[in-house]
């Protein structure tokens, strides 16, 4: 039964993300996914394809919103209201709870380190811990490239 379900479509040009997305330097669904489709006759079919246009739009808007939040944090760092730690936290889409879990510090401590004053008093070993969480060097943590394209550097492909 499963077999006549399947309808794998060849990768055609129309299915590829358009220029708008390629320009953004990250393709929003580079891998094709398997979807279930439903037609008016009540048949279900499997379809292997990229996300459809409307959906790609929404995914892009989701990431735009994330980028915007990072932009706001960046402004606050420039104004001296937040520490560079906040930039990396927002960039990796973490929240205080998650960062506390990964780093092993208490939430209260993490909040303290998010202020420029608390951050400046961090010991080298603690800086090391944070750098490890974000996969960066201590040097990068202390002097972040605030204009870097907001995206994820989670590990490298083997």
């Amino acid at each position: 039964m499963e077999k006549d379900f399947t309808d794998i479509q060849p990768k055609s040009k129309e299915n590829l993300p358009d220029n708008d997305y390629q320009e953004d330097n990250f393709s929003l669904s580079p891998n094709r996914e398997l979807f279930y489709c439903f037609d008016e006759k009540g048949n279900y079919k499997k379809l292997v394809d990229n996300h459809y246009e409307a959906n790609r739009l929404i995914i892009k808007q989701g990431w735009d919103a994330v980028n915007e939040r990072v932009g706001q944090v960046r402004d606050q760092i420039v104004q001296g209201k937040l520490s560079p730690l906040a930039f990396f936290m927002e960039k990796t889409m973490m929240e205080v709870t998650i960062l506390a879990d990964y780093s092993g510090f208490s939430k209260r401590k993490v909040r303290k380190h998010l202020t420029p004053n608390g951050f400046s008093k961090l010991s080298p070993s603690r800086l090391e811990t944070y750098a490890k969480v974000f996969d960066i060097t201590v040097e990068e943590l202390l002097n972040p490239d605030l204009n870097a394209q907001t995206f994820i550097n989670a590990g490298k492909k083997v």
């Binding site: 039964m1 379900f5 990250f26 996914e33 439903f38 009540g42 929404i58 989701g62 709870t97 998650i98």
Partner: protein, 332 residues
């Protein structure tokens, strides 16, 4: 050692893993079937849990629940290991399994999963993969939502198995121990539907099932009044992404569940199930409508507003209530 696990390309991670592990043992259960028997269809709206300030909406049950229920109902003996003293123990027991030729499902977090494309690196710990081999210190991973199998290093696998955040996997792993051939499908399917009916229309908590949808619809109407425009739009974006993006097979699992009803109807020669599979597909179409129109609205196109979008959610709840009430009568 690499086991002869056959990669099962699927649209949803957990049903895909369940169906793959069962097929490996000779029980031919398709992905929609695993969805139905494992009662995978669900809805919950939790306005008090926030991820990046957007309220949480979930269309799936707790991790490994589908696997547990499906196998239980098919009379399959399984093991779910979830409490590990330390991280090395978790990796050791995985190694032991692979040495014994047992493909093993693991709950993992998405964020540090290196082979995923960048946009999929999110702090989402409900993902499931099958680890089916180890060679030269590298693990072979059957990623259900990818066409090809992938490779992970020891450190990377350890990292994702102990990802942090909401619902930490804590190294949870599960596998099939022994199976009984030719299980009673009718019993299993009816048991699956019964639990889904309970989840969708009979749960006393007003945030779960169709009542949750109504609550969401009600709150949606208030978003533009209560929140700054940007936050309201972001809430909507996150809702639509939950409906379409996170491995749902399209339209928040409704198509997948419809496919299950169709397959079950054909198997049991039950015309009513076939009819309901059609209704479920139409409910799926409505959810798809929400994504398309919502997407246009966020982009300032079309003439929708939060009210009309909330109407769609309300309509979904009405239709699904009808479907599950009808299913309730069938399985009684």
């Amino acid at each position: 050692m690499i086991t002869d696990y056959k990669h099962n390309y699927s649209s949803h991670c957990e049903t895909g893993v369940t169906s793959g592990l069962l097929r490996h043992k000779g029980i031919d259960i398709s992905e929609p079937m695993a969805m139905g028997i494992g009662s995978g269809i669900f809805f919950t709206y939790l306005p008090f849990i926030k991820a990046q300030d957007a309220p949480m909406v979930s269309f799936r049950t707790a991790p490994t629940r589908v696997f547990k229920l499906t196998t239980q109902r098919l009379g399959v003996k399984t093991a779910v290991l979830k409490k590990f003293e330390n991280q090395l123990d978790a990796m050791d027991s995985l190694d032991r399994n692979i040495k014994n030729g047992i493909p093993t499902g693991c709950q993992v977090g998405c964020y540090h999963l290196t082979y995923l494309p960048p946009p999929m690196h999110v702090h989402y710990n409900f993902h499931n993969v099958v680890v089916f081999g180890k060679e030269d210190g590298l693990y072979h991973v059957a990623e259900p939502v990818f066409e090809e199998t992938q490779i992970l290093s020891y450190e990377d696998l350890l990292r994702v198995r102990f990802a942090k955040g909401m619902f930490e996997p804590k190294g949870k792993m599960y596998f099939v121990e022994s199976v009984t051939q030719n299980p009673d499908m009718k019993k299993a399917i009816f048991a699956g539907i019964k639990t889904s009916v309970k989840n969708m229309v009979k749960d006393p908590v007003p945030l779960i099932g169709v009542r949750g949808m109504r609550k969401l619809s009600k709150h949606m109407r208030n978003w533009p009044n209560k929140l700054p425009a940007k936050n309201a739009a972001f809430n909507l974006i996150q809702l639509i992404r939950t409906v379409e993006e996170f491995g749902t097979g399209g339209a928040a699992f409704r198509y997948l569940y419809g496919a299950f009803l169709k397959e079950a109807g054909e198997l049991l020669k039950n015309d009513e199930l076939l009819k309901l599979s059609f209704d479920m597909g139409e409910a799926g179409n409505l959810w798809r409508d929400l994504s398309i129109r919502g997407g246009r609205f966020v982009k300032n196109r079309g003439d929708d507003n939060y009210n009309t979008l909330a109407d769609i959610v309300l309509e979904c709840s009405v239709r699904e209530e009808k479907i599950f009430r009808a299913l309730d009568k069938i399985v009684k």
